[in-house]
Structure formats: C-alpha cells, structure tokens
Amino acid sequence: MKRSFAVVTDSTSDLPDEWRERYDIEVVPLKVLFGEETFRDGVDMSNQEFFARLATSSKLPTTSAPSPGEFAEVYQRLAKDHDGCISIHIGAQLSATAESARVGAQTVEGFKVNVIDSETVTMPMAFLCKVAAESASLDDATAAVKQRIPGCRVLALLDTLRYIEMGGRVSRAQAMIGTMLDLKPLLLVKDREIKSVDRVRTRSRAIPRMIEFFEADLPVEYVGVMHGQALEEAERIATGLRERLPDLEIPISEIGCVLGTHTGPKALGLVYIKK
C-alpha cells in the first residue's frame, strides 16, 4: 500500500538508515566544508570519515544548508508519483534549511509541499517523520506533526565546549558557561532555545545527571539515544532505558557530520517527544 504523499527531511534529522527504508523517507543533505572541500552530509562523507577528519583537521569545518534549487529538484522528482509532500526540517533558529525548502517548493507548480520548521534538531525530527509517515493523509500528517513540535526535546551532553562555541549557535553567556574551565555542559534544546540545564566537571558523573533530568521529564511518546563516536556508552544508556520503558522502541542513532561539527566528538544525547 503506497502512501499518496511523500515525507522529506534533511540530514540533521540523523534518521536511522533502517527507518529511512521502513518509512520511505527522502533525506536532503546539508553540507560540511573543510576549507575549500565540500561534502554532502552522509552522502560524500560518512560519519566515521567525518570524525576522523575532525580530529586531525587544523581548522574547524563549517556547514551550509541545501540550496532552494536542490530542494526543488527533490520535490520535482517526488511530484511524479505523489500528490503532496510534508518536508520536516531543522529549526529555523539554527539553520536556513527550512527557508531554503520553502523557496524551493514555490518553484514546483502544482505540487503541494507543507514545509515544517521543527524548531528542533536531530532525532526528534526523525520521530516527527515517523509520525507523518504513519498518518493517513497529508493534512493528518501535518496536523499530527505540528501538534508534537512543542514536546520535542534534545538533551545533549558535550564532551567539550570548544565546537559549539566556535560554531556560534550558542553563546557562552546563553549556556551559562562563561569560563575557561573545560566543563561538560548538559544542554537542552527546547522551544527554539538552547540552554544549559547543568554543568559537570567529569563525564562519568554527567551521564547519570542527563538520565536523571530525562526521567524527571517523563512521560514521553518517543525516545532515542544519540552519540558521536561513543556507541558503547550510548548502548549502555539505551539498555537502561529499555528496562525502564519496555513499551518504547528506543533507537540508537549516530550524530551526523553537520551536527557533529557543532557538538564535537564524544557527544551523547537523549532525544524525546514529551507526551
């Protein structure tokens, strides 16, 4: 049974590969630039390659949104066998991607594209894609996704402040971290804002703190574990959560190149949508 409408997202959703096939979701890549070299996130460069290069590169990479033209190409292709599309993207406070999608959609005549600013980043977007994919119609999908946006949360534990600071998406003052100490900040993305909910000196103490914060935020409809080159720790966290919440799927996903540019290596995250 084929869906009448398409589901599109961008590479910052860190959609697990398995979900991409299972729910037939189209992923438009953002770009990572190491100096003059440009790579499409997850297409020209795998996550492993990215973190290896991040570790040895003297200059930090930069990132850029897909162009409207790139979105237009995708929508044109999808218009052939769909009568509409929901396009779910990284929060407009963090990236120009949603705006680019909106402009791209206007160039494709006769094809309805509902561009959604998810106000968040990484796997809550994947959960929203799942919600959309399981909906009966484009209107239902749009309503169901919009309804869940306020409940999206990303709880991120960074191993260092260096990358997020250089990336300029969050100021030290915003994150209450104006210090030369190498703190492990616990950041929360919620309601279009990134703020520091706690700061801890050592990783082994920061992880339980992250789980504690999450448990205080229960109940949730979806939850997943994110990691950048820290699979073992992510698996341990997921195992613990599965015991606690046996009815939920709790996928583990890897932080992609674009998000990784801002989090740096060894970041961990709990991503969820509150009920």
């Binding site: 104006g178 210090t179 030369m180 909910v197 801890v200 000196r201 050592t202």
Partner: protein, 545 residues
C-alpha cells in the same frame, strides 16, 4: 593610696588598656606569626589578631565615654566588623562576651572585671562549633579562672586581677603543646593563645603604669619593653595598598627595616633572616616603601594590591552581572586570590569576589561589603579557605539579606560548588547540591616548607616541596612531580577521572610541563587539565575528582 589602688575600671581606663594591648600586640605580632604549626608560608595569626584589634579600637580612639560599657560595646562592634582569621573571630567573640557582661556598668570592681573575663571566655566557647582544647579558647578560660581566683582573694585590686589573668594565660599557653599533638610535633605553643596572652599583658602594662603614676606599683615586671602607644600607626581614611615583597641581601637588620617601614604604613610585618626578609605593609605610598627597601638589597616577589579599589571592583562586578537576573534570585560571593582564579570564579557566574585567602584573610566587613553590593537578597558565600570560614560565619548576623555560608575549605572545593550552582533552583536546593559537590572533590596543595619542622609524623626541612591533602600535610620531597604523585597514590588515583592543576604565580613553564608529564606517566588513566590560577605561595593547587 589605698583608695587609689581600689580604683575601678571605667571608660577612659579601659580605653587606655585596649590601646596598651594594641601597642603590645603590634610589637609582638611577628612572634605570634612565627608560631604557625604548619610549615606552609601562611603564618598570619599574629597579623590577623592585630588587624582585628586595630579594628576594635578604631572607634574607641575618638570616644571619650566615661562608662566602661560604652567602650566595651565599641570594641565588640569594631572587632566583629574587622575580624580576620579564626583567632581574630574568636577574639571578637571574647570582646562580645565582655561587652555583654559589663552592659549598663559605668565602672567595674575587681570582682566584676573577673566575672566579665569569665563571661568573655564562655561567649568564645559558645561561638565555636567544636571547641578544641589547647587553643586560644583554653587560654581565655584559664585567664578568666585565674582572674576570678584573684578577685576572690582578700585585698583584690584591678591590677592584681589583670595580672592574674595574664599569668593564667601564660601558664595555659605553655601547656598547649601537651594538649594538641600538632603543636607538640612542631615544637611550638598555640599562636592564637599566645596572641591573647600578649593582649592581656598589654592591658596589664597600662594598669601598672596607671598604678605607678599613683605611686602604688604592685609588681616588679620590667616596663622597658612597653611600646609607645603612639608607635602604632592606625589606618586613617582609605585602605591604601597592600604591599608585599622579599628583600634578598646580606646582613639585613630586621629591626632597622621594620622601623623605617612602620613610618610609611600600618599592618607592618617584617620577618625573616639576615639574608632574606619578608615585608608586608599597608601603605598609601607603595613607591616610597619599594624605594626604601630597594636600598637594602634585591626585591623579589613584589606584589602591590590596591585595597581602596577593592570595594569599587566589587560594585563593578555586581553591575556587570545585573544584566540577566537569575530566576531563583540567589547571588554568589566568593573569597579568592590570584588573577586566574578570580577570572575562573567570575566566569562561573560569581557576582562579587572578595580578594583574599591564604595570605590575607579578608575581614567580616570585607565579606559583608561584597554581599551588600550584590543585587540579590539571598546570597551564597564561599570562603574557599579554612582560615576564612569563621569570619564568614559572622556575616549572616550582620545583614538583612539571607546569607548562606557554604563552608568551602579550598579553591577546588569552591570551584566544584560553583559549577554545581543552577540559576533555576532555589537557594536551599542549590546549597545542598553545591555542598555535595564540594565534599566530593579532593584538594592537593603543593608548596615549599618555610622552616624545618615535624608535622603529622613527617620530618620536613626548610625548602622541601611539601604536599597537603585536604589541608593535612602528608608528603615532603625534593620535586613537585614526586610529591604530587605520592599524594595521588594516597588518594587512590584509580577511583578518579580528572585532575585540574591550578598553576600558581611562581611556577615556571618548565616546572609545569614536568609536573604534567610526571602525572600522566604515573597515572595514565587520569585526564589532566591545566588552568592559570595565579595564586601566591602555592606553586600548584590540584583538584582531584
């Protein structure tokens, strides 16, 4: 004549007695400083008591009150505001107890004087959480008892009561090494107790002079050493500059240097040996002090701190942080010294810094000023040094603000506590979380012994590298890396994750690099982070967590 010797203690006499104490302590405070049991270069009990006493008599100098109660009340208030260090705080409590005991009295009989001295000691005991025998407390109590015994004897006079108190104090001081093992090992008597003895002796000299003027000298005690009351330059307007340095030379005459420096400022401390002299002075003209000292030899470790701008800086800090008010309405004030450490605490969100710590214990007044400058009505105060805690604990009673004293005993404890502070959590919850973090972190402090000593069963030679774990001297050696690795081994490095090295003012790049590599090679499982601390006297302070 008999009528004269039964003269009571009225306001003017008590005022002169306190000024006599001040001169005598001023003349002897270096002796008190030298009694430091730890070989760490922070012997400042004498200076702290002197500064406290100076503050006690500050307002008295202007007073011509006839009643002893009024003078005692001024002394109580002044000492509380200026109390520095543990001994200073206890001294302020002694004055407080005395003032309460003489409330409403215009003059004291010998018996009333003795009773007031006993009450003074009781008040000091009450003020301390866990009274330790063999300290200033014991000396205060024995002085009070001896005074009471003398007052009960036939023919008791005020000078005899005070003489008995001073003698009782002296006997108690001599016994302190038998009461406290650390004193016994170090071969010294208790510094704070000795300071109190000096204060009582200073009073006695005044009474004896007063008697002598009346032709009824009751003692053969030599008075030659009584310093002129005018010799003590008290702070007059402004705080001036806290100026510190070492003079390296040959055949340096401490007395000559001290006399010259004293003419240029107050809180003068000149200690050392003919080859190396340490000078500490509060002066309005540091250039003159430096020029003068420069004639005697080479100046090392020169440090001039502008104390007058301290207050202003606190206000500046407060206005900086006023931009984004915290949802919980809780402000943070920390006591810390060293440029890097000040920046670290500021960066972590501390609203006002009181500069001080190991070398210069801030007064209760300094901390109070900082707290009043913060724009929050609820404030968490972190002393960050064991010698500042008692003075900090006086602050909550002096302000309308709700002040919590979080008893951090070291810089690493302070950092751990501030890191745990959250602006969205109420004060009491924050306090509990911050305390838990402070308790978790381990502190290693590394410095050089300033003299030969035995402490905590350890034989230490002057100049040795010594390592203290959580304030306790544990290791001595010739090398920073060796001492730090021993300390890490003792703490059980395997159960920790991160070592933060706060580099002191006097640590060189090579010393730092070597220490880092020594730690990494011995404890490869530990993450090592280096921060510029800029603290004096301690080349390295390490936080282990």
């Amino acid at each position: 004549m008999a009528r004269e010797s039964n003269q009571g203690v009225d306001g003017p006499l008590f005022k002169r007695a306190l000024l006599g104490s001040l001169s005598w302590l001023s003349a002897n405070h270096e002796e008190v400083n030298r009694l430091n049991v730890f070989p760490v270069p922070d012997g400042d009990t004498g200076t702290n008591m002197l500064l406290t006493l100076q503050s006690a008599v500050e307002d008295i100098k202007e007073s011509d009150a006839a009643e002893v109660s009024k003078i005692a009340k001024l002394a109580s208030h002044g000492s509380l505001m200026g109390a520095r260090g543990n001994s200073g705080v206890i001294l302020s409590q002694i004055f407080r107890g005395f003032a309460r005991a003489v409330e409403g009295k215009s003059s004291l009989t010998p018996a009333e004087l003795a009773a007031a001295l006993e009450e003074a000691s009781n008040a000091a005991y009450r003020a301390v959480n866990k009274p330790t025998e063999g300290t200033i407390l014991t000396v205060a109590r024995e002085a009070g008892r001896a005074a009471a015994a003398a007052a009960a004897s036939p023919g008791a006079t005020v000078p005899r009561v005070i003489a008995a108190a001073a003698d009782g104090a002296r006997a108690a001081v001599l016994k302190t090494p038998s009461q406290l093992q650390i004193l016994r090992e170090a071969g010294v008597v208790d510094a704070g107790g000795f300071g109190l003895q000096v204060i009582l002796e200073g009073m006695l000299k005044t009474f004896e002079e007063s008697e002598s003027a009346n032709g009824t000298l009751v003692t053969s005690r030599p008075l030659a050493q009584v310093a002129s009351q005018m010799a003590v330059a008290l702070p007059e307007g402004g705080w001036g500059y806290c100026t510190e340095f070492l003079i390296e030379g040959t055949g340096l005459d401490l007395d000559v240097i001290k006399n010259q420096i004293e003419a240029l400022g107050n809180s003068v401390l000149v200690v050392g040996e003919p080859e190396l002299v340490k000078v500490h002075v509060h002066t309005d003209d540091p250039t003159r002090v430096i020029t003068l000292a420069g004639r005697y030899g080479k100046l090392l470790k020169l440090n001039v701190g502008d104390m007058s701008t301290q207050h202003k800086r606190i206000l500046d800090d407060a206005s900086q942080s006023a931009g984004a008010p915290r949802p919980n309405g809780v402000g943070l004030v920390a006591v810390v010294a060293g440029s890097g450490l000040v920046d670290i605490f500021r960066g972590l969100g501390v609203d006002a810094i009181v500069e001080g710590g190991q070398t210069m214990n801030p007064s209760t007044q300094d901390m109070l000023t900082a707290i009043e400058s913060v724009s929050y009505d609820e404030v968490i105060l972190m002393p960050n040094n064991r010698n500042v805690i008692l003075a900090a604990k006086q602050v909550p009673g002096l302000t309308k603000k709700k002040v919590h004293v979080l008893e951090t005993r070291s810089v690493p404890q302070g950092v751990a506590a501030v890191v745990a502070f959250r602006a969205d959590r109420p004060g009491a919850d924050n306090l509990a979380a911050m305390k838990a973090e402070a308790d978790r972190v381990q502190t290693i402090e590394v410095t050089h012994a300033v003299r030969d000593t035995r402490s905590n069963g350890l034989k230490v030679k002057k100049g040795d590298v010594i390592g203290l774990i959580n304030d306790k001297l544990e290791f001595a050696g010739s090398d920073y890396g060796e001492v730090v690795n021993k300390a890490l081994g003792k703490l059980g490095a395997d159960s920790f994750e991160l070592v933060t090295v706060y580099r002191g003012k006097d640590a060189s790049d090579d010393e730092l690099a070597k220490l880092e590599s020594d730690i990494r090679s011995t404890h490869p499982g530990l993450e090592v982070e280096v921060q510029h601390g800029g603290q004096q006297h301690y080349p390295f302070i390490l936080s282990v967590e």
